[in-house]
C-alpha cells in the first residue's frame, strides 16, 4: 500500500500542474477542458441575456425599448456568441475532457496545442465581447452578409471585430479538431481497434474531421472580407468583378457542416447514455457508425439550401433540396437504433433520461421542419421568417443543448465525485422544456403569418401580437429554468452525496479513472479486448490503480502514453508529451496583440507582434523531440521493456498531426481555388485579362528551384528511413539553399508584378494566392534552416529521424499548391 501511494505521488509529481500562477502554464487535458467548459458556460449566460433583451423588445408591438442600432448588435451578437463562443467550444471542451479517458490514455497528444487553443478562445472571446461593451459590436447578422458588412455600409469597426475575432477563435476550433483526430486515431488503449471503440469516439472523430475541413472556408472568407474592408481589395464588389454571393457560398460551405459539428457530439452523448440506462450494449453499432460517416459527408453537400432565394439555377436547387432531405435518413437510423436499444433493455429512468426524452421530442420536431424547409417552394415563402428562427432553435437547442445537459448530469459525478439530485434537476428540466416550447412552438405560426426575422419591432393588429407575447413569456420561463439548473449544479458540488465507483454502472473506461480523476487518469494503461471494458472486467479499475497494467514506469520523469496503430490499435511506440509550458500563453498573447493591432489598424505594431508571435511559435517548435527538456537520448531507454519512444521512430503523432493540419490547409486552398473559379465563371462581371500580369517564366524558374529542394528533402527522408544519415547537415543546407532561391524568386515575382489589387477582384485573388504560396514557402524554408541547426545539435540523426519525416508532407504540400496554382491561376486563363 505504501508502495502504491508513493507510485501515485511520483505520477502526481510529473503530471500535476504547477501551483499558483503556474496554473496558467497548465497543458493537462482535464484542466484545459474544464476551463473550456466553464468559459463556454459564461458565454452561454451572456448569449442568454442578449436573447432576453431581444425578447423583451419584441414582447409588445411598436415598442421602443431598444433602438434599431442596438437591436442589430444584439441579434448579431446573440447568434455569434451562441455559435462560436458557446456551442463549439463547450462541445470541444467536453470532447477534450472525455476522449483520453474513454480511450484509456493519459492526455491528448498535443497538450501545448490544447492550451494555445484555450487561450485563443478566451482572448478572442474577450475581444469580441469588448466590442459589445464599447457599443461598436458587429451588427450585420451573425452570417455577416456583404455588402451590408462591407466598409461602405458598416463603416465602424464592428465587422472587423467579427472577422478578426472569430478567425482568432477559430484557431482554437481547428487545433482541437487536429488534436482530437490524432488522439483518437493514434493513442487508443492497446487492443481497442476501431470496431471496439466507444461510439462516442466515432462521433467525435467525425466532428473533429468536419472541423478540419469545414472551418477553412470561413477562415478564408473572413480574410477576404477583412482585406476588402481594410485594403480595398474588391472580392465581393460586383462593380469590380467581385460578387457578394461568393461570401454566402463560402460562409455556408462552413455554416452547414457547422450544424452537424454541433449535433454530432451531442448525438454521441445520447448514444453513450442510452445504453447505460438501458443496461445493455448499444444496438446497431454498425448502423450508427455508418450513419455518422454518411452524415459527415452529406453535410458538406447541402450548403446551398441556405441560399434558395438568391436566384440559383433550378437544377442546382433540386440537387441541394434532395441532398438536404436525405440527411433525414442517417438521423432516423440513429433514432430508431436508440429506440431498439431501449426496447430490448431494462430501462432505469434517471435524470439524464428525462433530458434524453426532451431531446427526442424537440429534435425530431426541428428535423421535420428542416425537411419542410428543404422543399424549395416552401422555403421561398418562409425563408428569413420567424418560422426559420423557430426551426433552428428546435434543432440547436433540441439537438445540442438538451443532450449536453443530459450529459452534464451523467458526467457530474465524474467531475465532482458527487451525485446530482433528482429534485431540483426535475424542476429545471420542466421549466426549460415548457419554457422552450412556449417560446418557439408557436413561433412557427408567427413566421407563417409573415413576420420576418431581425425586425426590431412590428405593427399591432397583424396577428403577431399575442404570439410574440407568448414567446417572450416562454423565454423568461426558460431563463428561470437555466437559472435553476446552474444553481443545482453549483450546489451539488457542495451538498451532493458522495458518488460510489461507477455510479451509473457504465461500460466505458472514463469511469475507471477515479472520480474526480487524477491528473494522469490511469496509473497503468489498460489493454482492451471488448467494446465494454468495465462490464466485462469489473475489477479493471483496481488493476489499473494498483499498477498491474502497462507503462507504469515514471522514474524518467516524462509524461508518457502508448501510441497504437490507427485501425487495429496494436501497440507501436511510447509517446512522450511535453509538460507544462508558458509558450502557449505567450504565443496566444502575441496573437491577441496582433488581432487588436489589426483592429485598430496600427499596422506597424501589427507587423512587430506578428514577428514576435512567429518567434515564439518557432521557439515552441524548437523545444521538441530530443531537446534536453523533452526527451534527450539516454542509455536507459533501450533497457526497459517497452516499445521505443516516438521521437526515435518515423511515424509518430507529429506526422499524423502534420497530415491532418495539411488537410485543413488544403481545404483552405481549395476554397480559394473555388473562389477564383467562381469569380471567373459565375460572378456577373467576372472576366480574366488577356495577358498575365505575372511573369510566367520567373514563376517557372521559382517552381524549378522548389522542385529541386523538395526532391532533395524527400530523398534525404527516404535514406533516413533505411537508417542512413550520411551528410545530413549538408543535404539540409542544400534544401535550405534551393528553397531560399525559390522564395527569393517568388518574392521577385510578387514585387515586379503589376497587379491592380484594388481595381479588380481578379488581381486581388491572384495576390491572395501568391501570399498563400509565400506563406508556405517561408515556413518550409525557415523550418529547414532550423532543422540544419538541429542536426548540428544532434536532435536529428540516424537514431532520431523523426522530425524530417514529420516535415516532409509540408514540403510536398508546398510543391503541390505551387504547381496547382501555376496551372489553374496562371496557365488555365491563358489557354482558355
Amino acid at each position: 500500500m505504501n508502495n502504491d501511494l508513493s507510485l501515485h505521488a511520483q505520477f502526481a509529481k510529473v503530471w500535476d500542474n504547477l501551483p499558483g500562477w503556474g496554473q496558467l502554464a497548465a497543458v493537462n487535458h482535464t484542466s484545459i477542458s474544464r476551463r473550456f467548459m466553464l468559459t463556454g458556460t459564461v458565454f452561454f449566460i451572456i448569449g442568454g441575456v442578449l436573447a432576453m433583451l431581444i425578447r423583451s423588445q419584441l414582447a409588445l408591438p411598436d415598442q421602443q425599448l431598444i433602438s434599431p442600432a442596438l437591436y442589430a448588435q444584439l441579434f448579431t451578437m446573440h447568434g455569434t456568441v451562441m455559435m462560436f463562443l458557446f456551442a463549439i467550444p463547450i462541445l470541444e471542451g467536453a470532447a477534450m475532457y472525455l476522449i483520453p479517458k474513454m480511450i484509456g490514455t493519459r492526455d491528448l497528444v498535443f497538450p501545448r496545442l490544447s492550451a494555445l487553443g484555450y487561450y485563443c478562445y478566451l482572448f478572442g472571446g474577450m475581444i469580441i465581447m469588448a466590442s459589445l461593451f464599447l457599443g461598436v459590436a458587429p451588427d450585420s447578422g451573425w452570417f455577416m452578409y456583404t455588402p451590408l458588412s462591407s466598409a461602405e455600409f458598416s463603416a465602424g469597426p464592428g465587422s472587423d471585430f467579427w472577422l478578426l475575432g472569430i478567425t482568432f477563435v477559430e484557431i482554437s476550433a481547428v487545433s482541437a479538431g487536429v488534436e482530437l483526430t490524432v488522439s483518437i486515431l493514434r493513442t487508443r488503449a492497446p487492443g481497442m481497434s476501431l470496431s471496439k471503440m466507444p461510439i462516442f469516439c466515432w462521433y467525435i472523430l467525425a466532428m473533429a474531421l468536419m472541423i478540419v475541413f469545414g472551418f477553412p472556408p470561413l477562415i478564408l472568407a473572413s480574410i477576404l472580407l477583412e482585406l476588402e474592408r481594410a485594403a480595398g481589395m474588391p472580392f465581393f464588389d460586383p462593380s469590380a468583378g467581385g460578387d457578394p454571393i461568393l461570401w454566402q457560398h463560402l460562409f455556408w460551405l462552413f455554416g452547414h457542416p457547422e450544424v452537424y459539428i454541433i449535433f454530432l457530439p451531442a448525438a454521441g452523448i445520447v448514444s453513450t447514455i442510452i445504453p447505460v440506462f438501458a443496461g445493455r450494449p448499444l444496438v446497431g453499432y454498425r448502423w450508427i457508425v455508418l450513419a455518422i460517416i454518411t452524415m459527415g459527408f452529406v453535410s458538406f453537400g447541402l450548403w446551398v439550401h441556405h441560399m434558395f432565394t438568391v436566384g440559383i439555377p433550378q437544377l442546382a436547387q433540386a440537387f441541394f433540396s434532395l441532398a438536404s432531405m436525405l440527411v433525414a435518413i442517417p438521423t432516423a437510423i440513429q433514432i430508431f437504433a436508440w429506440i431498439a436499444t431501449l426496447w430490448t433493455g431494462r430501462v432505469r429512468f434517471e435524470l439524464p433520461m428525462l433530458w434524453m426524452f426532451g431531446f427526442l421530442f424537440i429534435f425530431v420536431c426541428g428535423g421535420l421542419t428542416g425537411v419542410m424547409l428543404a422543399l424549395v417552394p416552401f422555403d421561398w415563402q418562409v425563408h428569413d421568417t420567424h418560422f426559420v428562427v423557430a426551426h433552428f432553435h428546435y434543432v440547436l437547442i433540441g439537438g445540442m443543448l438538451f443532450p449536453l445537459i443530459g450529459g452534464l448530469y451523467y458526467w457530474l459525478p465524474h467531475l465532482s465525485g458527487r451525485m446530482p439530485s433528482m429534485h431540483m434537476g426535475k424542476w429545471a428540466f420542466w421549466l426549460i422544456f415548457i419554457g422552450f416550447n412556449a417560446t418557439f412552438l408557436m413561433m412557427h405560426l408567427t413566421g407563417l403569418l409573415g413576420m420576418p426575422r431581425r425586425v426590431v419591432t412590428y405593427e399591432a393588429g397583424l396577428g403577431w401580437d399575442w404570439l410574440n407575447m407568448l414567446s417572450s413569456f416562454g423565454s423568461f420561463i426558460m431563463a428561470s429554468g437555466f437559472g435553476m439548473l446552474i444553481l443545482d449544479v453549483v450546489l451539488h458540488f457542495r451538498y451532493g452525496q458522495k458518488a460510489p465507483f461507477n455510479p451509473w454502472q457504465a461500460d466505458t473506461l472514463e469511469w475507471a479513472t477515479g472520480t474526480p480523476p487524477t491528473s494522469y487518469n490511469f496509473l497503468s494503461l489498460p489493454t482492451v479486448s471488448t467494446r465494454h471494458p468495465l462490464w466485462d472486467k469489473p475489477d479493471l479499475q483496481a488493476t489499473i490503480r494498483d499498477g498491474a497494467e502497462g507503462l507504469k514506469s515514471i522514474g524518467h520523469g516524462r509524461r508518457e502514453l502508448y501510441g497504437t496503430e490507427a485501425v487495429t490499435a496494436q501497440l507501436r511506440e511510447v509517446i512522450h508529451l511535453p509538460t507544462h509550458s508558458w509558450l502557449p500563453l505567450i504565443s496566444a498573447l502575441f496573437l491577441a496583440a496582433l488581432c487588436i493591432s489589426l483592429l485598430s489598424r496600427a499596422y506597424a505594431i501589427a507587423l512587430g507582434v506578428a514577428v514576435l508571435a512567429t518567434v515564439s511559435l518557432f521557439r515552441w517548435g524548437w523545444v521538441n523531440g530530443a531537446h534536453k527538456v523533452i526527451a534527450p537520448l539516454t542509455e536507459q531507454e533501450h533497457q526497459r521493456d517497452e516499445p521505443p519512444l516516438h521521437s526515435r521512430t518515423m511515424n509518430g503523432p507529429g506526422l499524423w498531426g502534420m497530415v491532418v493540419t495539411l488537410l485543413s490547409d488544403g481545404s483552405l486552398y481549395l476554397s480559394l481555388l473555388f473562389g477564383w473559379l467562381y469569380l471567373w465563371t459565375v460572378a456577373p462581371g467576372g472576366k480574366v485579362p488577356d495577358v498575365s500580369s505575372i511573369s510566367i517564366s520567373m514563376m517557372m524558374l521559382s517552381g524549378v528551384f522548389l522542385t529541386i529542394a523538395v526532391f532533395v528533402y524527400r530523398r534525404m527522408v527516404r535514406s533516413l528511413r533505411v537508417g542512413s544519415a550520411n551528410n545530413l547537415p549538408s543535404k539540409l543546407i542544400c534544401v535550405f539553399s534551393f528553397g531560399g532561391l525559390h522564395l527569393l524568386t517568388l518574392i521577385y515575382v510578387v514585387v515586379t508584378s503589376d497587379l491592380a489589387i484594388t481595381d479588380n477582384a481578379h488581381d486581388a485573388t491572384l495576390f491572395v494566392m501568391l501570399m498563400f504560396l509565400l506563406f508556405h514557402s517561408s515556413i518550409a524554408v525557415v523550418t529547414s534552416g532550423l532543422q540544419t541547426l538541429r542536426a548540428h545539435k544532434g536532435y536529428i540523426s540516424q537514431l532520431l529521424p523523426y522530425e524530417p519525416a514529420v516535415f516532409s508532407p509540408f514540403w510536398l504540400f508546398t510543391l503541390a499548391i505551387f504547381w496547382l496554382s501555376f496551372g489553374s491561376f496562371l496557365i488555365l486563363p491563358l489557354v482558355w
Binding site: 434599431p68 442600432a69 452578409y145 455588402p147 451590408l148 455600409f153 460586383p238 460578387d243 444496438v283 446497431g284 448502423w287 432565394t309 438568391v310 436566384g311 433550378q314 436547387q317 432531405m325 436525405l326 433525414a328 435518413i329 432516423a332 437510423i333 430508431f336 437504433a337 436508440w338 429506440i339 431498439a340 431501449l342 426496447w343 430490448t344 433493455g345 430501462v347 426524452f357 427526442l360 421530442f361 425530431v364 420536431c365 421535420l368 425537411v371 419542410m372 422543399l375 424549395v376 417552394p377 416552401f378 421561398w380 415563402q381 418562409v382 425563408h383 405560426l445 407563417l448 403569418l449 409573415g450 420576418p452 426575422r453 431581425r454 425586425v455 419591432t457 397583424l462 396577428g463 456577373p684
Partner: protein, 232 residues
C-alpha cells in the same frame, strides 16, 4: 376527395377564426403560388405531426414497457426491422411523397417564358422600393399595382445591400442583390391590397422597408395604366 379537402382546410378555418388572416399571412393566399405553398404546408404539417407523435410514442413505450429477455438473434432481427422500416423506409417514403408534390409545385412557380406576362422592375435601396413599368414608363415608390389573374414578372435589383422582395399572400420571395437581376413570377387572383416587405436584414430601417401591392381587376388595371400615361 372533397371531404379530404374540407378536412385539410379545417385547420385553416380555425386559424382564420383566431384572427390570423393578416396582411402578410402565408396561410391566407390570394394567388396561385401562395395557394400551392399553403396546401403544401398543411399537408406537411399533418404528416409531420403524425411522425413526431408516433416516434415519441414508440420511444416512450420502449422505455416504459415491461422488461423481457431477448436472445441475440431476436435483438438483431428487431434492430434491423426498426432501422430499416423506421430509419430508412419512413424518411424515404416521406421524402418521395414530398418531392412528388413539391417539385411540380415549385416548377410551376418559375418565370418560364410567357408572352402574356407583364414585366415590372423593382429596384431596392436602403430603405425603399422603386417600382417601374418599363413598357409604360410609369414610376412608383413602395407601391405595386397588378392586374388580377395575369402573371407578372418582377425583375428585382438592388442599389446597395442585399434586400429581399416578398409579398407573402401572393408567393415566395426573391433576393435583390447588387450586380444581379433576379426574376420573380407573381400572380394575384383576388383583387385587394396586400402587404409586401423586405425579408433580408438590410440595415437599421429594415423593419420599416414595406410596400403595398394592389391587385386590380384587369379592366381597372388597364384604365389605371392609361390614366398614368395621360398624366405624363
Amino acid at each position: 376527395m372533397f371531404k379530404q379537402a374540407v378536412k385539410l382546410a379545417s385547420p385553416a378555418v380555425a386559424i382564420s377564426l383566431l384572427g390570423c388572416n393578416g396582411h402578410y399571412s402565408i396561410l391566407d393566399p390570394a394567388g396561385p403560388n401562395a395557394q400551392k405553398v399553403m396546401w403544401l404546408w398543411w399537408g406537411m404539417f399533418i404528416v409531420a405531426s403524425i411522425v413526431l407523435l408516433g416516434v415519441c410514442a414508440v420511444w416512450w413505450y420502449a422505455m416504459k414497457k415491461p422488461h423481457k429477455d431477448y436472445t441475440a438473434k431476436e435483438v438483431r432481427g428487431l434492430t434491423n426491422r426498426l432501422v430499416i422500416v423506421g430509419g430508412i423506409g419512413l424518411p424515404v417514403v416521406c421524402i418521395a411523397a414530398l418531392l412528388g408534390f413539391g417539385i411540380p409545385a415549385g416548377h410551376s412557380m418559375l418565370p418560364w417564358p410567357n408572352e402574356q406576362t407583364i414585366k415590372i422592375n423593382v429596384h431596392a435601396k436602403q430603405w425603399l422600393w422603386e417600382v417601374s413599368y418599363p413598357a409604360h414608363r410609369i414610376q412608383l415608390q413602395d407601391k405595386v399595382i397588378l392586374p388580377a389573374g395575369i402573371p407578372v414578372d418582377i425583375q428585382v435589383t438592388s442599389e446597395d445591400v442585399i434586400h429581399s422582395f416578398w409579398v407573402p399572400r401572393l408567393g415566395g420571395k426573391i433576393d435583390a442583390i447588387p450586380g444581379r437581376t433576379n426574376v420573380l413570377r407573381l400572380q394575384g387572383d383576388k383583387p385587394g391590397v396586400y402587404g409586401g416587405q423586405c425579408a433580408e436584414y438590410c440595415g437599421f430601417a429594415h423593419a420599416k422597408m414595406k410596400f403595398e401591392v394592389t391587385v386590380l381587376p384587369e379592366q381597372e388595371f388597364t384604365q389605371w395604366l392609361a390614366a398614368q400615361q395621360r398624366e405624363k
